[in-house]
Symmetry: C2
Subunit: 427 residues, 2 copies
């Protein structure tokens, strides 16, 4: 009998009716002959409500206590899911992250999973129980303190449990049917992908596709756990994330790899340009060291070739908009020391990325991408590439047009044949 | 430096403003030079809200999962209290019952504390932190499952922590000024007691005074922990519960013990009478064994002398009204076997109790009590007595009159002198 790990997010357990629906879904998997382990998030807006409560008593609550507070959210949802299952005549046991053996480092608010020691879960499985585990939380290895993994941590919890239990599959239930070739709200003709490799999914996630969190995909890739992204509102098969770009679909023999997996976009970033930086060894390093010290994660970085006449260069980079103020303040404090000319801040930008394992062996992809965007009348800003991704920064207002044009240029739009496959059983 | 344990109930931490007020109060105790350990209940109606959520997914939720769910309540309040303290510039650490070493038996929903192993609390105290502990919860010794102590369990948590930490005092904060000679809503002239013995407090609690729970007083008595019952809304001294009736106020030398501590009443019981029971050895035992098996706790029990002519007797007892239906069903099932005549059920009853260690050496107390009630025109039903208590069952509608008449007859009404003592510093 195989083990299936399922993950349900906050919207899937938002109220009593949703909890009951999830319980029925879990029981179905059990009835189908699987041992079932479930990771759940806090119900609906619970986490936001708790954060609001914290703000009401302290503008800067200690991270340890914030973790203690927030972990109450999953405790509530997991107990309710277990109760709803029991109401269907099946036996369920809920476990906190700590009880489930989710061991993390000590960084409150964004702890990393170090190890999973699922002794109690195995015992519960062996006793025939369905197991419900609190997502998003763990216990620190050294200090035995309650930690949280940060937003989206329940995906990671699910994959980590699947790896520790050597599960057959980790099913991530969400409110869409799977991973799409583009955001269907922008490109109505976007197709659901039946299969995507870990690397492509990583690039999609890093490029703004919100369906899976980066860390969860990294974890799944490391332990080779297939992820099945699917809707908790339908019985349709979703998207299988598995296999590497070297060996995209091991269990299905050879299959021609599609050139492009999809088009992703991201409107959460801002662009900062530092102009007139002296083109000396170490100046750029000093800028980035200061930003790193301020705990700011940069995304794309571009440095122009310096003009020979002035020996000055411009450095541009993108970063989360939420870090914009901190970054500008940090850099302004370095102006005298480094001697750059000006700081330009632009948060009216968006990033459009084309992702596909096939582009490695198809040299024309970049040119086709750029001309599609140009034909849509969109101006390109910064450009960065990886082996299986090309990203460009465009004006915020041009994002939709650039995504749609790219999607069409690479023949990703669904046609009637695709629409039938949609409701099918997965290729 | 002494350790002070404080307990705040749900109404004391009902919202952000209340949490902040409690935090200031806790910090005051720390500033006064004490090490402070605090047990908190869930905020306001949180427990009822969680029970409602459980009901919405399952009419009969498993007890284990219900405990998992309910313990989220204190987790929220304790983290918020710790945050509010930290906002005042003091360092606080919150701990779940399990982390605090509150070890219980495995009876979910009404677990008993077996042991307290406060290693983590001691460490936190030694590091200078104020310690906040989730009330009402623990972890079972054998199965390591999360348990709850039942309603009012936070009082017991506080006293158990005080005992394990050898605290100087356990302060129970509530929404009244202390323990009164009667319920001030019924007897406006009721006086606050400055001191009461454990035994008197036990009889008061068992007789319907809701201010402290029986188990908490039993625990305090066993470990000789003084309890200070006081208001979280004022700075007044409240009531000290300490000392035995043999040695009522050890630290204050000899002092004449008041005859009567107070008058308590209880409207939560019903009376069942089994008429025409054959007066043979074992018949009564059979009745009570059946009720015990149904998990029903009886309070007062009266058996009449059997009439010689019939050799039949009547047995009456009181029990919680909530158990009335179960008890009647259980007994009806025994009618044939035992051969009693009828079952009478009366839930329009109330119990009035007079409690005082001094009554042991004052033989006139019973007579005075009964005539006060008679003069108020109230008819007596069942009567039961202990060494320091007399209880009578009266009609529900007569409870107020009986309490008031008794209170006056024993000179318990406050006069001007008492009113001054009221705001004083405790005798």
């Amino acid at each position: 009998m195989g083990i299936v790990v399922q993950k349900y997010g906050g919207s899937s357990v938002a109220d009593a009716a949703a909890v009951k629906r999830v319980a029925r879904r879990i029981v179905e998997a059990k009835k189908a002959g699987n041992d079932v382990v479930v990771a759940v998030s806090a119900m609906g807006d619970t986490t936001d409500d708790l954060l609001e409560k914290a703000q009401a008593v302290s503008p800067l609550p200690p991270a340890r206590e914030l973790d203690m507070l927030l972990t109450a959210g999953e405790r509530i949802s997991m107990a309710l899911v277990a109760m709803a299952i029991s109401d269907l005549g099946y036996s369920a046991r809920s476990f906190t992250g700590s009880q489930a053996g989710v061991i993390t480092d000590s960084v409150h608010g964004k702890a990393k999973i170090i190890d999973v020691t699922p002794g109690r879960i195995r015992t519960a499985i062996d006793e025939g129980h369905i197991v419900i585990v609190a997502g998003f939380q763990g216990v620190s290895q050294d200090t035995k303190e309650i930690t949280t993994l940060g937003r989206g941590g329940t995906d990671t919890t699910a994959v980590a449990l699947a790896a520790a239990l050597e599960a057959d599959v980790c099913e991530i239930y969400t409110d869409v049917d799977g991973v799409f070739t583009a955001d269907p709200r922008i490109v109505p003709s976007a197709r659901k992908l039946d299969r995507v490799t870990y690397e492509e999914m990583l690039e999609l996630a890093a490029s703004g596709a919100k369906i899976l969190h980066l860390r969860c995909v990294e974890y799944a890739r490391r332990f080779d756990i297939p992820i099945h992204v699917r809707s908790s509102f339908s019985q349709l098969d979703g998207t299988i994330v598995s296999g590497s770009i070297e060996d995209p679909a091991p269990e299905e023999g050879t299959m021609e790899q599609a050139i492009i997996a999809g088009v992703a976009h991201d409107r959460s970033e801002a662009k900062i340009t530092v102009t007139g930086v002296p083109d000396k060894v170490g100046e750029a390093a000093r800028i980035f060291a200061a930003l790193a010290e301020a705990q700011i994660n940069l995304d794309m970085i571009v440095q122009n070739v310096s003009a020979a006449s002035t020996n000055l260069t411009d450095i541009s980079f993108t970063l989360p908009r939420t870090d914009g103020q901190t970054a500008m303040t940090t850099l302004a404090g370095l102006q005298e020391e480094i001697g750059f000319e000006t700081l330009l801040y632009d948060d009216k930008v968006g990033k459009v990325s084309l992702i596909g394992a096939g582009m490695r062996s198809h040299p024309g992809v970049t040119a086709k991408f750029f001309s599609a965007i140009a034909e849509a009348g969109v101006n390109l800003g910064m450009i960065s590439t990886s082996e299986i991704r090309i990203s460009v920064v465009v004006a915020d207002e041009d994002v939709d047009a650039a995504v749609a044009a790219t999607h069409t240029a690479f023949d990703l739009d669904a046609d009637e044949v695709e629409a039938v496959v949609y409701g099918g059983t997965g290729r």
